[in-house]
């Protein structure tokens, strides 16, 4: 039998039993569209986290004092002893060709007050480098001035939430606030959502010069140093440079931990990628349910079309041909269902994207392919039993309708 004739024969059978066909198309379409929708939500989550990381600043490396041993081995008896990471260390890092910006950081929590209003917030000690590293933007005023980072100054840049809490709508620039009892002059207010992302909430923080913060919190060591590599390709060179420079400065001891943003991102991508796969797999179960429905309906169809099958046998169709005809019918049904499902799914994704403009929802490229393949596979597998039953019908009994 020619392929075009098989197609026409199956099409006439599908059109001939309209209610049955619609029912099975619907089942397939729901399965395919839910695979698409759920994987799109999963992919959207992955992109969302990605974007958040990108907001941290691109090509970022984080240097922390102390060597984190994650390789096992001997019990870490001595690993708790830390060698201080100093401002001079941070300054030394900026000498490397592979490093564009360096932002040493000291972190503490302290009451910040203006007049009668007081609020306990994160106080970050850093330098002008933080502005570029964290891609900050100013609402008004300016950021910490560049200059010798070892020299302190009684100036502060505050986040927009903190500004509203302390000053309301009044002007904050030039005003004096107290941080842990010491007076600081507000020189700038950060723009809303600036530097938002995973990690600290800069909106409800105050940024002061790093040396001032060290004396304020009585902290000889930096909390960490944020380093921006000179481009994406320079990340691994920057990592090596950091380790080399600090080892030379710390008497040959490798006593810092360097985390690259790529490594973190990769971990999250792996986790969220497998989450998307798992969610898609759960949706694929609905396709299997559709398959059971299709098997049921096809079994009914085979008994309804007994005389037709008997006739086909009488006019010389062998059992294998009848098997192929029924499987072809299942294939076409599955493909049509997949097409309807893809249309519904993409419409749903489009609808979600319109409803949630901030959520970067998107269908991963493999989802439509996997959904279509799964629906084809289910159609074929679950139609095999009815098709084989049709192929094995005794022609005499089938013609009599038994």
């Amino acid at each position: 039998m020619r392929l075009a004739d098989v197609f026409r024969f199956c099409m006439s059978a599908l059109v001939g039993a309209r209610a049955r066909t619609w029912l099975m198309l619907l089942a397939m379409a729901i399965g395919v569209s839910s695979v698409l929708l759920l994987t799109a939500v999963g992919e959207g989550t992955r992109r969302y986290v990605n974007d958040q990381f990108m907001n941290l600043g691109s090509h970022l490396l984080i240097v922390m004092p102390g060597k984190l041993e994650t390789t096992g081995g001997q019990p870490p008896i001595l690993s708790a002893t830390q060698v201080d990471l100093t401002i001079d260390d941070a300054v030394a890092l900026s000498q490397s060709q592979s490093i564009r910006r360096v932002a040493p950081m000291v972190l503490g929590n302290a009451p910040v007050s203006y007049g009668q209003r007081e609020r306990a917030v994160n106080v970050i000690g850093s330098t002008a480098g933080l502005y570029g590293v964290r891609k900050l933007k100013m609402l008004s005023g300016r950021f910490l001035p560049s200059g010798d980072p070892t020299r302190g100054a009684a100036i502060a840049v505050i986040g927009d939430t903190l500004k509203t809490e302390l000053f309301g709508s009044a002007r904050a620039l030039g005003e004096r606030i107290r941080i842990d009892g010491q007076k600081f002059q507000v020189i700038g207010v950060l723009k809303e959502a600036s530097g938002a992302g995973v990690g600290m909430d800069l909106r409800d923080s105050a940024v002061i010069p790093v040396a001032t913060a060290q004396s304020l919190f009585d902290s000889p060591s930096l909390f960490r140093v944020m380093v921006e590599a000179d481009g994406h390709s320079a990340i691994s060179r920057a990592e090596n440079a950091i380790i080399d420079i600090l080892r030379a400065r710390h008497n040959g001891e490798e006593d810092v931990t360097v985390i690259t943003q790529d490594a973190m991102l990769e971990t999250f991508n792996t986790i969220l990628g497998s989450l998307t796969l798992a969610v898609g797999g759960i949706a694929a179960i609905s396709l299997a349910v559709a398959g059971v429905l299709i098997m049921n309906v096809m079994l009914v169809a085979v008994s309804q079309r007994k005389t037709e099958i008997g006739l086909l046998k009488a006019i010389g169709a062998p059992g294998t041909q009848i098997l192929r005809l029924f499987l072809a019918e299942a294939c076409m049904l599955a493909l049509l269902g997949a097409i309807v499902g893809l249309i519904l799914g993409f419409a749903g994704v489009w609808g979600l994207a319109a409803a949630l403009p901030d959520f970067p929802i998107g269908v991963p490229f493999w989802a439509p392919i996997a959904a279509t393949a799964t629906s084809l596979g289910t159609g074929l597998i679950f139609c095999f039993i009815p098709a084989r039953r049709a192929a094995k019908l005794d022609p005499v009994l089938a013609l009599a309708g038994h």
Binding site: M1, S12, G16, L312, G316, G319
Partner: protein, 225 residues
């Protein structure tokens, strides 16, 4: 050439064994016009099913054009059915969702005949049955006689050697029945072997050879020639 050599067929109906055919010896030559007659339960339908390779004999041998069909695989038997036999049934067995032309075309589809040749042959077959103007009607839009003539066109489209008709007039009024029988007889005159099963003597007596069956045996076999 059809040859039965002591063919038997038994069925189990509940606890009982029914001998549908008992040691039948029979020879039907090419181009013959034979009627197999007898009351219901005489075994004439079983005979037709085995003749048309839809059923197998339990014992004995069936030679078709000298070839022993009893040992053939199902695939080979299907291929012989496609090329050697045309079936006409009492209840027509047209596919209801297909037009007359599509029903007639079906055996050619199964055989993989090219579309251009197919169209011509379908047109000729419908012409021969006087149904050219009914080609695109569905079975439900045709009268009983027209439906049976569509079925005859389908049975003959592959130019088989043998036409097997099982009560072809059973569901028709006398006038339509006459037309159908005449159509079958015209085909026989052009050389096809025609075997009709009927319990209607008015139909059976028109055949040159009349085979009477009773309880699975041939009771009487008369040839007018």
């Amino acid at each position: 050439m059809i040859q039965f050599s002591s063919v038997s067929r038994e069925f189990e109906v509940g606890e009982e064994r029914v001998h549908a055919l008992r040691n039948i010896d029979l020879e039907i030559k090419d181009g013959e016009y034979a009627a197999i007659m007898g009351p219901s339960g005489s075994g004439k339908s079983t005979m037709l099913n085995i003749l048309g390779l839809l059923d197998r004999a339990d014992q004995g041998q069936y030679f078709l054009n000298g070839e022993d069909t009893t040992l053939l695989t199902e695939k080979k038997r299907a291929s012989l059915r496609r090329r050697q036999f045309g079936f006409v049934f009492q209840s027509f067995h047209l596919v209801p969702r297909m037009t007359a032309a599509q029903n007639v075309e079906l055996p050619l589809n199964l055989d993989g005949v090219p579309p251009r040749e197919r169209r011509q042959r379908v047109r000729d077959a419908l012409d021969a049955m006087g149904l050219s103007d009914r080609a695109h009607h569905r079975p439900s839009q045709l009268s009983g006689g027209q439906r049976q003539r569509v079925a005859i066109a389908r049975a003959t489209i592959t130019q088989p050697g043998v036409l097997l008709a099982d009560e072809p007039t059973g569901n028709l009024d006398t006038k339509s029945g006459q037309e159908v029988i005449q159509a079958l007889e015209v085909l026989n005159q052009r050389g096809i072997t025609l075997i009709i099963i009927t319990h209607n003597p008015a139909i059976g007596d028109r055949a040159r050879r009349r085979i009477h069956m009773q309880d699975g045996s041939i009771e009487d076999d008369t040839d007018s020639n």
